[in-house]
Symmetry: C2
Subunit: 381 residues, 2 copies
Amino acid sequence: MSLMQSPPGAETVIDGRRYLYFAGTAYLGLQGRADVIHAACEATRRYGVGSATNRAWFGTTPPLLDVERLAAELMGTEEAFYYVSGYVGHHILLAALAEQFQAVWIDERAHYSAQEAVRLSGRPAYAFQHRDPADLAARLKADLRPGQRPLVVSDGVFPVLGAIAPLAEYARVLREYPGAALSIDDAHGLGVLGPNGRGTLEHTGLIARGFNGGGDEAAASSDGPTLWLCGTLSKALGGFGGVIPGSRAFVERLKAASHYYDAASAVPVPAAAATARAIELVLAEPALRTRLWENALVVKRGLGGLGLATDDTPVPIVCLTIGSAENMQRIQQELMRQGIVIAYAGRYAGVGPAGALRLAVFSTHTAAMIQRLLDALRALL
Amino acid sequence: MSLMQSPPGAETVIDGRRYLYFAGTAYLGLQGRADVIHAACEATRRYGVGSATNRAWFGTTPPLLDVERLAAELMGTEEAFYYVSGYVGHHILLAALAEQFQAVWIDERAHYSAQEAVRLSGRPAYAFQHRDPADLAARLKADLRPGQRPLVVSDGVFPVLGAIAPLAEYARVLREYPGAALSIDDAHGLGVLGPNGRGTLEHTGLIARGFNGGGDEAAASSDGPTLWLCGTLSKALGGFGGVIPGSRAFVERLKAASHYYDAASAVPVPAAAATARAIELVLAEPALRTRLWENALVVKRGLGGLGLATDDTPVPIVCLTIGSAENMQRIQQELMRQGIVIAYAGRYAGVGPAGALRLAVFSTHTAAMIQRLLDALRALL
């Protein structure tokens, strides 16, 4: 197994060697920023590693509230609920929404964590074809029973595929179903997409309708589904843990519905303190995000120039399938020999049987670094 | 909401006041130890907050391997799998055991996390009466279908009730069922119970049969169930996150079966580094554990002297139900006014409708501190 021996960044030390690193999810390059690390140490010296109890029983340390306040500020909501891992986001979200849906339609390529959360909800669940509003419409027609309110679940941005879910089209399909809900895990959209970094809902324009109990829910739901989201702070946002921003009332509902609030150890102090500082940086430095978009487009145009199909969204993830699994592994390994890391995803939600190559771009990659990647790829193809 | 403004310990600062603290789960008092905090800072400076990717894709940082090596050493197993929260332990464990059971019997008062993991397994599930081997036997007879192998699930130590599950009796009941399995979440047993701190299996003598794929599984299963456990490192063990120790083969199976390995951000660096150092302390200082047992017995004898019923196990948790919810809240609040914190559990797995008072003892409580608690309680009853 490979060991990562430095913070993840444009350059990352793996197994003793410094690589040009186009993998993982440290899109804004914050995980190794000196003041993020300083914040973690400072707080740990004051508050210890963790409170060793749950949030409801004296276990809330000050950095946790900082994260919730700053995440709410970033997302434009009244409050937020911060928990230990983005992986359990939909688990927590669906617990709070339990009374609001009777059956679920889920993108067939949604992340494992969403699939598991849907299973845990105990409701009948149907898959629809990946990013296909027409198939969603057909399957709703076929399978929705009278009186049921449907919930549609998807990733906002698919973590390996890099594709954005067509949320506005889903919302249009759901206009026919009063009381319908649309819920996304925006792990790879938060901090990346939208003028304010609010993610896929902002990018697709849906955010104006309100989400997670915010905005004019009644007005919004008369004209399409209510909107719900969970996200992570471990990727673009540079820290660790999951978050659900929302109205005060909805955040209270989350805490009452989920035992991650009252029966699990609170998020550890250093992770929370680092996360709070990293969100402050995201708020203070919008150029991190615009640089990321520029870098994503430079990489995508460059790949296009090599004859590789890509989209032109600002998502900093490119998924390439180039021939057989063996061929893709060869490319990944040859790049590594040349000091460049990309990931080969042999098995992952949404990836076909041969797997795929996944490239990730950061705001901290320089033009020269990107050129080196493109040159190396050109020589290998 | 109360804020914890110091590490949890015998004395803990809450909302600006230093309290004598008999709550939470920092049983060995390690969360605020200087060298645990130092380890967290040191590692964060080297490796950043986290790898921002999963374990399978370059996301394993050195402190994670340290935790796995040390947890295996503590538990006497070949290896261990370390993940982000003890809450998801049974989720991961049951994913790996999926082929080995067709129906589940679960203690009616087991922790929420176990209940959810059983639901997620999708197998038919039956509750049996709390800590009642005879009821378990009766329900197995009534509900087990021909050809089904049963899995019995329980907490090792119940987190609020403080009771130890009668695992040896369950194992005897399960002798009648070839291929049966018995699985516990030992969040509150690990590091606390047994001569080596290996938890409830060691305390009940079952550990000699092997667990999690270790030991002579074939021989053991001819004479009772196979044994399985998950645990946490956030409580007695002084760090953060969950752990499943086991044979090399079983740990490989866990990593293949659970997407916490290949599709979730790895445990953050400072939490892992603190945890590794805390386990080293637990291994180096067995007196932490014997002092904890002594303190638990002093508190329990003292409460017995006040006419309050307690058991005489070394579990450092005492659950008291004294009259109505209002009365218990009064006691809790009056103690707080006097500078002593215990918890009132109004709603928790296993707790009745009036709730319960929960006292926790640490190895760092002095005789004088315990006497102060007992004196205050005597005056209040």
